[in-house]
Amino acid sequence: MSIIEDKDILEIMLTDLQRALKKPRKERRWAMAIDLKKCIGCHACTTGCMSENLTPPEIHYRPVKEEELGEYPNTGMRFLPRPCMQCDAPSCTQVCPVTATYKRDDGLVVIDYEKCIGCRYCLVACPYAARSADVGHYYTGDFRGKTYEVENSGEYGKNYRRRSHWHSPIGNARKCHFCIHRVEKGELTRCTTTCLASATYFGDINDPQALITRLISKPNVFRYKEELGTKPMVYYIT
């Protein structure tokens, strides 16, 4: 358990979340911070995300990249979890020809599965490779009789079941959505709660009191590929 100011950080973030949810949606700005010094590369966030969103094979909303730094004998490892950056200037929403992917007023970049035509232009345009194409693969090879494969994941608070390639989300682009279906119910994102090292922080950066706001205002923070001008909403603490 990670403690800040004599409190468990999950409790602090939950309190922050409750406070944020009381505000109108357009006054919130969801963001995530990941402390790379704390991340141990256990992939609990990845597996937690997979079970939460029932993602099919080869689709990882939050993979963890293992990077080797330096040269022998001065070497080290760095683990870089990569959720969707929920960019403030996203290239994916710009290229979507039918506005199936768009930015909500709380800053989240979401996909309307019922509108996505599956052209995959957003996959090509995303500089973080945060999007995947759901082409209709199943872990069990054939979904018939395997209820896990076709259960409702609850993504976006809707009833999406991977019944066949005629039904969304199969044929669509998919990506991390900061577990918005959980957040709107007052729960933290799954990756935040499953993180063994409490390296993931989530909250509303429009709230000056929120833990995440205080963390990202420090100088040891960077944003991935910030030079591209996408203004990512995921901050890495080093």
Binding site: K115, A129, V135, S164, S168
Partner: protein, 382 residues
């Protein structure tokens, strides 16, 4: 509006061809094209019935594959036909005009064949109506769809005009300007993607335009060569030989610039240019551009034009596949057991889709040619 004799061949000639076809005298190309269409139909059917997961080899790592490159190829061929039509009308007048309706017709058919290939790649083709109901003006793909529609409409009007000997200069210019914008939009669809260094370039829309001109002119060149052989009028091939040389030289310059810019950059992702340098120079420039140019330089005959054009059509097809697929060679975010370099080979179903598109073009053109659809426009002045 008159249907027979304009859009479809005259009824009696069509019926007479059909009876010949039943007796096995329809022409080898037609029988081969029908077999190709049946096999291609099987490919299409399998993709739609079984789904992408079981039929095609594209994935999150290679989101666009053979079907997209085939679409790009046919779209560019279509644009090239219009380019050829415009330049032919402008600079070669009498030598060209007997082939005008065929050239525009090919522009139409290849545009449709390209769309057929694209349709099999989309995850939810049934939602295409959203291009109208929920458009996104910031998307190059949206603009491409707008111009593509305008392009097919203009082509159709131009074709009808030619077939009805009602040709106007205004329509000729419109049928040049709109396709140029359309195929530059297609180029910007790739060229505007800043995340893919292999695509990202302001050069790409121009490169697409001239590559299209080259491919379209090559296809028209084959038609001209056969027409020339059939009519014994060797002057028919002259405009196409000349235009093909211009197109080859233009694409040579653009390809050379693209490769040079690519290999001289140190930005992340540009290593694709260095890794594909050999294939780009030897095949992309040497085999695809220099050899066809040399053939036309030293063999300005019907055979030379056919050989050069076939070489251009085949190598441009491979070049389009290379362009689309090589963009994904270096993974943007490499995790887990992802290879350092992504490779892609199309599935049999994807290849069948290509076969269907090619067969469609061949079948429709040959049947229309054999039933004399283009004779009206060819005989009279417009």
């Amino acid at each position: 509006m008159k249907l027979f004799g304009v859009f479809v061949p005259e009824k009696d000639r069509l019926l007479s061809y059909f009876s010949q076809f039943k007796q096995g005298k329809g022409g080898l190309t037609v029988y081969l094209a029908i077999i190709g269409l049946i096999l291609g139909g099987f490919g299409f059917g399998s993709i739609f019935i079984l789904g992408h997961g079981h039929t095609i080899n594209t994935s999150s790592l290679v989101p666009w594959g053979l079907q997209i490159s085939t679409y790009v190829y046919f779209a560019l061929v279509s644009g090239g036909c219009i380019f050829t039509n415009f330049l032919g009308n402008m600079f070669f007048h009498e030598k060209y005009k007997t082939l005008a309706s065929r050239v525009i017709f090919m522009g139409l058919i290849t545009a449709i064949a390209g769309f057929a290939s694209l349709a099999s790649e989309l995850g939810h083709i049934e939602r295409m109506y959203l291009f109208m109901l929920s458009p996104n003006p910031t998307s190059p793909m949206f603009w491409m769809s707008v111009w593509y529609t305008a392009d097919i409409t203009i082509l159709l009007v131009e074709y009808i005009n030619i077939q009805r000997n009602n040709h106007s200069k205004a329509m000729l210019y419109a049928s040049f300007v709109i396709p140029v914008i359309t195929y530059c939009s297609l180029g910007s669809l790739f060229g505007a993607v800043g995340t893919m260094p292999y695509y990202y370039s302001s050069l790409l829309p121009i490169y697409f335009l001239f590559s299209g001109f080259l491919s379209g002119n090559a296809l028209c060149g084959i038609i001209a060569a056969f027409q020339s052989k059939a009519s014994g009028n060797l002057r028919l091939i002259k405009p196409f030989v000349r235009l093909q040389k211009i197109a080859l030289a233009s694409v040579f310059v653009l390809t050379f610039c693209r490769v040079i810019i690519g290999i001289s950059s140190n930005l992340s992702g540009y290593e694709v240019f260095r890794e594909t340098f050999f294939q780009n120079v030897v095949f992309g420039i040497g085999g695809a551009l220099v050899v066809p140019f040399m053939i036309l330089m030293y063999k300005r005959t019907v055979g030379g034009l056919i050989l050069s054009s076939v070489l251009v059509l085949v190598t441009q097809f491979v070049a389009r596949l290379d362009l689309v697929v090589e963009g994904f060679r270096v993974p943007v975010f490499r995790v887990y057991d992802m290879p350092e370099r992504i490779s892609y080979f199309p599935s049999i179903f994807e290849i069948l889709v290509v076969l269907a598109s090619v067969s469609l073009v061949a079948l429709v053109y040959v049947v229309c040619e054999k039933t004399g659809l283009f004779e009206i426009a060819g005989k009279e002045t417009h």
